[in-house]
Subunit: 332 residues, 2 copies
C-alpha cells in the first residue's frame, strides 16, 4: 500500500489544511475541533450540517459553501466524527434559525449525531435530523442497522442546501430532506478494494476476474461476488434493482448520478452513464438531470455507484439553484 501521505495520524488534518489553503474564499477550519465551516457563516438561515468518516472526499467538506452545507464534520478515515465536533461546528455556523443534521445511516454516525442534537437542544438551539438510507444493496450491513446511506446523500445535500439558502424554515427543510430520502435509491460495485491508511493493507481481496456487487463505501460486503462482466451487464444488474425498489415507473423524471469510487477513470464513468441512460430510456424513464464524477468515494477503490432520484418541479428547481462549493459549482 503506497499513499501520498506523511504520517498516518496526520492524514485527515493535513488534507483539511490543504483544502482550506485551496478554498479559503469558501471554507475555514474550526479553530478547535475538526470541522469545515462555511467561510461566511453564520448566516440568517437554517444551518445544514453533515459529516462522517473521512476517505469519501469530496463528501462532505467539498460541499460546504453557498447553497449547500454550512459545516461538515470529518472523522478519521472511515470513522465517525464525535458529538463535540458536531456540537461545536453547529454552534459556530448556526444563525438563529435552527440546525439540520444530514446523517448517513451508519451506527456510529447516527449515535453521535443524536448525542450532538441532544446537546444542541439542551442549549436551546432548534435542531432536526434526517438519516439517509438509500442503498438498496443490503438490508443490514457491517456498520449499519437498516440500509446504508450512500450516493443519495450528495443529491440531498445539494437540494436541501438550496432550500435553506432560500430561507425556508427548519420544519420545511427537514420535510424536503425526508422527501428526497424517500425518493432516492442507490447501489454500488467494486473492482478493487481500498486500503485504509492506518490499516496499511487492502480492506478485502477480490480475484483478478471478480467484482463485488452492492459494495459499501467502506468496502463492506455487498450482495454477491461475481465473475467480471461487461459494463452494460453490470449497469443493468444494478439499475434493475434500483428501479424495482422504489419503484421508478414509466414516465418518471429522474436525476441519474454515476459516481466513481475514487480510483476509476472518468472515461469509464461516462461509459457507464451511457449504458445507464440506454437502460432507463428502455424503461420509459426520463433522465432530466445528471451528475457524473467522483463525489462520494472510498479512497482509491475502483468501481462506481448508481443513484436515481425521482424528480418533481420543486426538486428540479432546487437542484438547478446556484451552488458554490469546492466540489460543486454552478450559477455563481
Amino acid at each position: 500500500m503506497k499513499k501520498l501521505i506523511n504520517k498516518v495520524d496526520d492524514v485527515v488534518v493535513e488534507s483539511l489544511a490543504g483544502m482550506q489553503a485551496a478554498h479559503g474564499d469558501l471554507v475555514r477550519l474550526h479553530p478547535s475541533v475538526k470541522g469545515v465551516l462555511r467561510a461566511d457563516a453564520p448566516n440568517p438561515k437554517v444551518a445544514v450540517i453533515s459529516g462522517g468518516g473521512s476517505g469519501h472526499e469530496p463528501l462532505h467538506g467539498g460541499f460546504v459553501g453557498f447553497g449547500m452545507l454550512d459545516a461538515a464534520c470529518p472523522g478519521e478515515v472511515f470513522t465517525s466524527p464525535t458529538p463535540d465536533q458536531m456540537l461545536e461546528a453547529a454552534k459556530a455556523v448556526q444563525g438563529g434559525k435552527g440546525v439540520l443534521f444530514i446523517v448517513k445511516n451508519y451506527t456510529g454516525d447516527v449515535m453521535n449525531f443524536q448525542m450532538a442534537a441532544d446537546m444542541l437542544a439542551a442549549e436551546g438551539i432548534p435542531v432536526a435530523q434526517v438519516v439517509v438510507n438509500d442503498d438498496v444493496a443490503v438490508q443490514d450491513s457491517l456498520y449499519t442497522a437498516g440500509r446504508r446511506g450512500v450516493g443519495g446523500t450528495v443529491l440531498i445535500e445539494k437540494i436541501v442546501g438550496a432550500l435553506a439558502e432560500l430561507g425556508a424554515p427548519l420544519e420545511e427543510v427537514k420535510q424536503v430532506c425526508e422527501k428526497c430520502n424517500a425518493q432516492v435509491r442507490s447501489m454500488g460495485m467494486a473492482l478493487t478494494s481500498c486500503a485504509v491508511p492506518a490499516a496499511g493493507k487492502p480492506t478485502f481481496e477480490l480475484g483478478e476476474d471478480e467484482f463485488e456487487l452492492g459494495i459499501g463505501i467502506h468496502g463492506e460486503p455487498g450482495r454477491q461476488r461475481l465473475k467480471m462482466k461487461t459494463a452494460r451487464e453490470i449497469v443493468e444488474s444494478m439499475a434493475e434493482v434500483i428501479v424495482n425498489d422504489l419503484p421508478f415507473q414509466k414516465g418518471d423524471e429522474v436525476l441519474a448520478f454515476v459516481n466513481g469510487m475514487g480510483g476509476t477513470p472518468l472515461m469509464e464513468l461516462y461509459l457507464v452513464y451511457n449504458d445507464l441512460v440506454r437502460f432507463l430510456n428502455g424503461k420509459g424513464i426520463q433522465v432530466a438531470r445528471n451528475l457524473v464524477g467522483n463525489y462520494i468515494t472510498s479512497l482509491e477503490m475502483q468501481g462506481c455507484s448508481i443513484t436515481l432520484l425521482k424528480l418533481d418541479s420543486q426538486l428540479k428547481a432546487l437542484w438547478d439553484y446556484p451552488v458554490h462549493t469546492p466540489a460543486l459549482r454552478w450559477g455563481k
Copy 2:
C-alpha cells in the same frame, strides 16, 4: 486488469456518447469524425482547438464550452487523433476569425496537427499552432523529441480560451498562448501503473515500495525509480526542480496546480497541495490562484503532478474569466 467497459474497440466512442448524453447543453459530437464540439459553435471568435490520445479525461473534451475550447479531437487511448479529425472539427467550429491549435508535444500529435494546419490553410482558413512542452522531468522521451506537454496544457487552454472568448485576434491569442507556455513548468510522479484497455496489462511495473519520479502521462519513464518517501519529500523533490527550471523567484505570483493521475484520492491531493504551499511560501513565492483535482489523468494511474504557472495581471484576469465546460465551471 478489470475495467468498466464493453468492447475494447468501443471504449472511446461509448465514453464520448456518455459525455454527450450528460452534457448536451455544452457539447455535441461531430457527426462523422470523433470530435467534441462546443454546442453553440461556430461563434464569431478565434476557434481554440486541442486534442490528443484519450485516457487523460477530462482533458480535452471536458474543457469544451464557453471560455475554453471550441473543439477537442480525441484519439484512441494514448494514440494521436488523425489530421482529418482535426480538419473536420476545425471546419465545424471556426467562425471566420481563424483557428488556434493547442498541441501537446508528442511526435504523433505534432505531426498530425501540422498536417491539419496545412490542409486548413490550403482551404483559406487562418491557422496558428502552439506546442506545449512544460514537463521538466526529461528532455526527450518515449514519444517525444524535447519536453513533453502535460499539466500546463489545462491552464493554457483555460487562459487562452478566455482571451478568444473576449474577441482577441488570432495573432494575440497565439502570442498569449506562447507566453503561458514559456511561464509554466510541470513534473509528475506515479505510485502505480495504468493499463491501456487494448493492451490488457499494466504499462510498467513498480515495486511495492517504489515510486517513479518524473513519470509521463502515458506511463513513459521518468527520471528515477526511488524507494517510497513521504508526501512532503516527494513534493519537495518535484517542486525544487520546477522552481529552479524557469526559475520561479522570490516575490513571484503563481498558479499552483496539483493534478491527480486518475487513481489517487482527492484527500491525498489536498495533502500534497498543503505541502506544496508550505514549500513555495518558504521560497517567498506566493500562490495567487490554484487548482486541485483530476484534470489531466493517465487512466487509473495512482500519482500526481505539480504545475506552476507564473502569473501577471493579464493571466490572472483571464484565469478568473467565466468558464462553463463539463469539467471546469465558474462565473456562469
